[in-house]
């Protein structure tokens, strides 16, 4: 019988420091058949368990899209024991990975629609997989708008990609930093994400909004979306309750009777509104 807890082994091909405490890995599967199996299952929005052996496992969303099949990427901040140990590794080192788990963003249902991404700080990585997926299939979607903010300029992740997206004429991107977080050469906006979103005022018509960020940002962004005429069934988010197995067995990620690892992590806002406040 298969051991569902046994990870695949992945090699760190590329390591990028996004901020002073946040790192991205580009990872390649040691075993090509495991890579093929992963990509036969993987849909954008799913997550996995990433481990530095000797330290445990951490749950991250896969930050690269299923349209890029040679590797997977993840971005994480060093906060706990395992994330610190992961961050101490070097290019060429091996880590453990289990996944893909959970549900996904139903992007095939969004063909022909405008897509609005709203993200704050370290919460861009889960949406970055969707952004890249949408950009890799750009012709299938209408307008793409990205509103991304962080506390300070140095807290913005994917700085290279932000520039690339800015340079494209088929992406409307607005970056912002909290007041006081700007640098002298900062050319983006200064202000909190909800305020900036209100200024940008994207149309709700034929639009799907994806939002991911700290609870405080989410709390103040929903009223803005409401004001802009978005109904809850146009808005999607992704939850990250604490998990161990990712497989519906260890018993801790549930929000009421809903298991984030199996019924989530992606939730439509009207579905989320029906759940008890246990996330």
């Amino acid at each position: 019988m298969e051991n569902i807890y046994c990870p695949s082994l992945l090699k760190i091909q590329d390591l990028t420091w996004e901020t002073p405490d946040t790192t991205s890995f580009r990872l390649t599967f040691n075993d090509n058949s495991e890579r093929e199996e992963f990509f036969s299952l993987y849909k954008v929005g799913q997550f996995g368990e990433f481990s530095a052996f000797g330290h445990g496992e951490s749950t991250f969303c896969v930050a690269s899209p299923p349209t890029r099949k040679d590797y997977i990427e993840c971005t994480f901040r060093a906060v706990g024991r395992n994330t610190k140990a992961l961050q101490a590794l070097n290019e060429g080192d091996t880590i453990g990975f289990r996944g893909p788990y959970g549900n996904s963003f139903p992007i095939d249902d969004w063909k022909g629609k405008n897509i609005l991404f709203i993200a704050g700080g370290i919460a861009l990585p889960p949406l970055r997989a969707v952004i890249l997926n949408v950009l890799d299939r750009r012709s299938e979607f209408a307008d793409v708008t990205i509103v991304y903010g962080a506390r300070t300029v140095s807290d913005l992740v994917y700085k290279m990609e932000l520039q690339e997206w800015e340079a494209r004429n088929d992406v409307n991107i607005v970056t912002t930093v909290d007041p006081g977080g700007e640098t002298e050469d900062w050319t983006g906006k200064i202000g909190f994400v909800p305020t900036v979103l209100d200024e940008v005022a994207p149309s709700n018509e034929n639009t799907i909004a994806l939002i991911c960020g700290p609870p405080i940002m989410i709390k103040f962004t929903f009223p803005v979306l409401d004001k802009l005429g978005f109904s809850k069934n146009q808005i999607f988010t992704t939850l990250e309750n604490r998990m161990k197995c990712g497989l519906g067995k260890c018993g801790r990620c549930n929000v009421g009777g809903t298991y984030v690892c199996k019924d989530g992590p992606v939730f439509r806002a009207d579905v989320l509104a029906e759940l008890p406040a246990e996330y």
Partner: protein
């Protein structure tokens, strides 16, 4: 053909089990508590207690299960090894547990096979035969009849021993029923069993009729459907000290943690028992906790057992064994709380619906 076994023949059974390659675990004293331990001498079996302190859950869900070992090979390669079934799941007879304990693994199997199969649980369950003994006694903490079980229920058991009226102070004859093929096979390959159909002890039916259901799980589940935000949780759980004894002694609590033991170059990944009664259980790295209060955690435990699990698998995640009450240091009785919910459901259905 009707079968029986006499306690005088337990040693014969134990000896033949060993020859047939089984280890036998049964109720035995362990310091000040009782638990299931390897038994070689019939005299070590302690069958007089209503229920052991600890359930035999550990033979299905080990307290500490090595799920993987890792070893650095060279500079950056790693070798992973999954332990073999022979290592962690030797052929085992769990002898002399109560029907409530026999039901535990059968109930937990639903989540352990939910889309993904947990091989550690399944291999252990596959290698283990359960011979349960029907109850001739119950105490005020017992409530199996409230959760669709009984002092003589066969759920989860491979073999059921029914105490007969033929007993003296020290010896006891049992009628024996092989419930599963696995149970039949064990009986056929071991000794001590005899033909015969001794008369069932009347005490079993007395226990059964005295142990009236004290709440209706369907009504409890209905109340829980709308009762998430009810203020009752805050007052009902005030005396809980969050020690988790209820979850560790429970035959159906199965929540676990996964941790690495060892260094970076060599070590073992293990699955350890965990408890939803601990605040760390759900604590996010950010410091945010979705269940920050004791009442939130107690609600989770009752909801999981009597609503979420039944919603998913049509099984109540409770066998009514009563250990959570018997060993609770502050005498929080799950049975009593469920009775309270039963009364709340009956008294104020409209208020409940309004939250």
């Amino acid at each position: 053909m009707a079968l029986s076994i006499h306690s005088d023949d337990f040693q014969t059974l134990l000896d033949s089990l060993r020859e047939a390659g089984y280890r036998c675990v049964g109720p035995a004293r362990d310091g000040t508590i009782t638990k299931f331990k390897p038994i070689e001498q019939a005299g070590d079996l302690f069958l007089d207690e209503i229920l052991t302190t600890v359930s035999p859950k550990e033979f299905f869900l080990a307290e500490h299960e090595a799920i993987l070992s890792y070893r650095m090979k060279g500079k950056s390669d790693i070798e992973l090894t999954t332990p073999s079934k022979e290592e962690y799941a030797p052929p085992t007879l769990v002898f002399g547990c109560r029907p409530c304990d026999a039901a535990g693994p059968d109930i937990v199997k639903s989540v352990m096979t939910w889309d993904y199969d947990d091989r550690f649980f399944l291999d252990r369950a596959d290698s283990t035969v359960i011979a349960a003994i029907a109850c001739v006694e119950a105490d005020e903490a017992c409530f199996c009849t409230s959760v669709e079980l009984a002092p003589d229920s066969q759920t989860g058991a491979d073999i059921l021993l029914i105490p007969s009226s033929n007993s003296t102070g020290d010896t006891q004859e049992y009628s024996v029923t092989a419930i599963t093929e696995k149970g039949r096979k064990l009986i056929d390959s071991t000794k001590g069993w005899k033909d015969g159909n001794p008369e069932r002890a009347s005490a079993i039916d007395e226990v059964k009729s005295n142990l009236k259901p004290s709440f209706d799980p369907a009504k409890v589940r209905e109340w829980l459907d709308n009762g998430f935000d009810h203020e009752w949780w805050n007052t009902a759980t005030l005396s809980c000290i969050g020690c988790g004894t209820c979850t560790y002694t429970c035959p159906t609590c199965h929540c676990f943690d996964i941790v690495d033991e060892g260094g970076q170059s060599e070590g073992v990944r293990v699955k350890n028992w965990d408890s939803c009664m601990m605040s760390l259980f759900t604590l996010h790295t950010s410091g945010h906790n979705p269940r920050p209060l004791k009442s939130n955690r107690f609600r989770q435990r009752i909801m999981h057992k009597f609503k979420y699990y039944p919603d998913l698998f049509e099984r109540i995640l409770c066998t009514g064994c009563g250990r959570c009450q018997r060993h609770c240091p502050v005498d929080m009785a799950l049975k009593g709380l469920l009775e309270q919910i039963g009364r709340l459901a009956a008294e104020t259905p409209d208020q409940v619906a309004a939250g």
